[in-house]
């Protein structure tokens, strides 16, 4: 086979630490024909707003965009589940010619009557602006008639990148903020931003804050509720995860309501604990919160520590590749993998910015490849060259790893297992352990090639069977 070629225009978005001066480009529109792993503006908006469970999400356009985003995420709700339904105006040729406003109006009115949502988000897809639909006007009209907020989301797929979609979603959310009463909100209160309750993660995190004595006014958007968003301006602090997605909203809330924000991550012991400590530090006038936080961190870590140590012994020295949507997640994963004694040989993201990649460069070891907006060929090239044992990514990256006999951990929104928080870290470690230690890899032809060189190590380091049993029960 011929070597996997890297497109010249892509070279500036790939950096190998220690081999060249750091001049990485990012934030560029994806190169045509390069098979980017990114999605579009619509995707950005859809992922941010998706978990709001008592709102109606209507996708205005032909059927594809709605069909491909129907119930695809593991975002759980403790109550209504409107978010798990897929609604589309399903525009047909005649709508494209004569305009889709009439259909939007009727579809929207009908859906509101049936489902009685607290608010409605109307996502514009690629062609909506081009055919000249005045979505804003239809939303206003229906809002007036039905007495609920009907919020247009300007998410035409081609109008930027996924990040612009995040911003469009934040713009829509921001219209809700400030509408509700802030009465009774504690002076020790926060909003959780950028946490989407995948597999119940928001519930895990909220429980920590509750035990610390901190009130969570609103979670945006995991297990989200419209009324909570409406009163979220009553919180004292915004705690922002998934920085790419919701910093826009935090900025707007800071400007208008003077609410400061901090950036956190809930993945891995280090970042998880820091997220709690940083919030506690913000409420330094009430030292009990910090005391309580220390207690929680101690207690939580002591719960999972023994099992983590076993896993660590089993996965130590394995090599991992990371390719995720946001760079902030990559930082946490690098730390979490290091905690398990693993080496990161590839780190990349779809939407990182200059500062993100500088941070990545500083965090990574020499030889680690850093990529922005990679494609399948680049990813495969580097996981093979760097002899990764594990790939962490999403659905689109999984088969790349599997074909080459490499273990995989899904860290994207489709997964159903919580990986955030302390219990999530244990889940993550277990998943990493289970995938890298599966007996099936010995049958993988790509791995057999390198078996001979590893044989010595395996012979000297036999893993007792009892360990497998403990982890599986």
């Amino acid at each position: 086979m011929t070597a996997i070629p890297i497109l010249k225009e892509r070279e500036s978005q790939i950096y190998q630490k220690g081999t060249q001066p750091f001049q990485m480009k990012c934030g560029k529109h994806s190169l045509a024909g390069s098979v980017s792993q990114r999605a579009c503006v619509f995707c950005g908006s859809r992922v941010v707003l998706y978990p709001i469970a008592d709102a109606l999400h209507l996708i205005h356009g032909p059927i594809g965009c709605a069909a491909y985003t129907w119930d695809i995420r593991g975002a759980l709700s403790s109550g209504p589940e409107l978010h798990r339904l897929s609604f589309s105006t399903d525009l047909q040729e005649k709508d494209v010619i004569f305009g889709g406003e009439k259909k939007l109006y009727h579809a929207l009115s009908e859906l509101i009557d049936i489902h009685q949502p607290k608010a409605a988000f109307i996502y514009s897809t690629c062609i909506v602006g081009i055919i000249g639909d005045d979505v804003e006007a239809v939303c206003k009209k229906v809002s007036k008639e039905k007495g609920i907020d009907v919020l247009p989301v300007h998410s035409e797929g081609f109008k930027g990148t996924k990040k612009d979609g995040y911003k469009a979603a934040c713009d829509a959310l921001f219209k809700l903020v400030g509408q509700g009463s802030t009465e009774g909100i504690s002076p020790y209160s926060i909003n959780i931003l950028g946490e989407f309750n995948i597999g119940g993660e928001a519930w895990i995190i909220k429980d920590y804050y509750r035990r610390m004595g901190v009130e969570v006014v609103s979670t945006m958007t995991g297990d989200g509720r419209v009324d909570d968003v409406r009163r979220s301006h009553g919180a004292v602090l915004n705690v922002v995860q998934c920085s790419g997605a919701m910093t826009f909203l935090a900025e707007m809330m800071k400007e208008k309501y003077g609410i400061p924000y901090i950036r956190v991550s809930y993945f891995g012991l280090e970042d998880m604990s820091k997220a709690l400590y940083d919030v506690a530090a913000h409420f330094s006038d009430k030292p009990e919160i910090m005391e309580k936080t220390k207690e929680i961190v101690r207690e939580e870590i002591s719960h999972i520590y023994p099992e983590l140590q076993k896993i660590k012994a089993a996965v130590q020295g394995k090599k991992a590749a990371i390719y995720v949507g946001g760079a902030f997640k990559a930082f946490s994963l690098i730390k979490a993998l290091r905690y398990l004694g693993m080496d990161v040989v590839l780190a990349g993201s779809q939407t990182g910015n200059d500062t993100d990649y500088e941070t990545l460069r500083d965090m990574c070891d020499d030889g680690t490849v850093i990529v922005d907006d990679a494609n399948p060929l680049e990813l495969s090239k580097y996981i093979i060259e760097k002899k990764a044992d594990l790939f962490i990514g999403g659905v689109k990256e999984r088969p790349i790893a599997y074909k080459m006999g490499i273990g995989f951990c899904d860290h994207n929104h489709e997964r159903k297992t919580p990986l955030a928080g302390y219990s999530g870290m244990l889940n993550f470690a277990k998943e990493v352990y289970l995938t890298v230690s599966s007996p099936v890899w010995k049958f993988a032809p790509a791995r057999q090639l390198s078996v001979n060189s590893d044989q010595l190590l395996t012979d000297f380091n036999p893993r007792p069977n009892t360990e497998h049993r403990t982890l599986n029960t």
């Binding site: 086979m1 011929t2 497109l7 994806s30 190169l31 045509a32 024909g33 390069s34 098979v35 980017s36 990114r38 999605a39 579009c40 503006v41 619509f42 995707c43 356009g61 032909p62 059927i63 594809g64 709605a66 069909a67 491909y68 985003t69 119930d71 339904l85 897929s86 589309s88 105006t89 399903d90 525009l91 047909q92 040729e93 709508d95 494209v96 259909k103 109006y105 579809a107 929207l108 009908e110 897809t125 690629c126 062609i127 081009i130 055919i131 797929g157 081609f158 930027g160 060929l377 090239k381 659905v395 689109k396 088969p399 790349i400 599997y402 074909k403 049958f443 032809p445 790509a446 090639l449």
Partner: protein, 456 residues
Amino acid sequence: MNNLAIKKEEYTATKNACKLCTPLGASLVFKGIRGAVPLLHGSQGCSTYIRRYLISHYKEPIDIACSNFAEETAIFGGGANLKIALENIRRQYDPELVGIATTCLSETIGDDVPMFIREYKDMCEGQELPPIVHISTPSYQGTHMQGFHGAVRALVEGVAEKREQDGRINLFPGMVSPADLRHLKEIMKDFGIPFTMLPDYSDTLDGPLWTEYQRIPPGGTPVEEIRAAGSALGSIEFGSVLAMEKESAGRSLFKKFAVPCHSMGLPIGVDETDRFFNTLSSVSGKPIPAKYQEERGRLLDSYVDGHKYVIEARAVVYGEEDLVASLVQFLKEIGVIPVLCASGGRSGHLQKIIAEMIPDDEQKNIRILENADFTDIESMAEELKADLIIGHSKGYTMSRRLNIPLIRIGFPVHDRVGGARIHHIGYRGTQELFDRIANTLIEARQNASSAGYTYM
């Protein structure tokens, strides 16, 4: 009339769609051509969403390139982007064919893709270019099936040639599984008939592990065989709804090269499979291999063994129109009543086809729902007191809520492994499907019994 077709309101929303968009079907076809790269002319999301959707079913790397529109592309047209995309695909993948499918965006702004391709070819004068095949697939026209059949037609229209007749048969299998495609190839080989099967994603979308990374997964219909399709003895084209459409790959080859076209339903069930084997035999002049007579024998034997478990069971069937029509034909054969036949497609032919299969005088009260979504299907399934649901995995929610077992077939199967290996055509495939249906009904009976019998 008893066959009751339901028409829907014009301005209603589609709620939990039972269809996908046109470019998905076209991309799938291009994935079944050897050395081909599909290229969507539109926004990055189109290719990423379709890749994700396909990968979750086939569990294989599926690269689909995109011309990746930006705001200025939508204003000034997508020509420049399409050419850059073609250039980059050639540099990265060195393809044997590029299949371009448009999207709603590029169609709405009125991009003239054939002209862009001509311009690109002019730009590359003197270079050896792979065939570039184009199909127009705005998602506001039809469903993924129009994209699928359209891409097959575009391939033969763009690539097939008239040559000396070489005894080959063209096979246009429609949107079946890799396991089905493998079975069809086995049949053709056992007959000893040279053939062009288009598409053939049996290896590209259900392949082995690799030693080295494959830029384009091995397998697929060779371009050379598509060229030869113009000189075949005849074409066999599956899909009873397709047979009623104005255009198809088979008919196009007939018009252009006088290759006779034999249209039939998917070979599910004894009758349709007989028809397929008899056609193969009569077109090629070769006898049906004994192996298939034996398979047929076993299938009939299993029909008899299981007939009491399945008779008059009430089934809800949904999916692509061609698939639904063929399933109805099969279910009728074993005495299962397809109480609801639904599709997100809206060809307008489904009702007529089913009415012919199951005449009114049989008093079955069958409901046929075109342009259906899962909200329609579920509410009707509940009312009809169905015993089982047959369709893809998006019916799981309905199955769970109504507590009616779901038999997963077709595309997609996103909640199980092995979706690519579900086999339901030919005698052997029908056998597998029949066993699953019978066993599902037996299991439901067993579970419902308080005795917990171990003999059923």
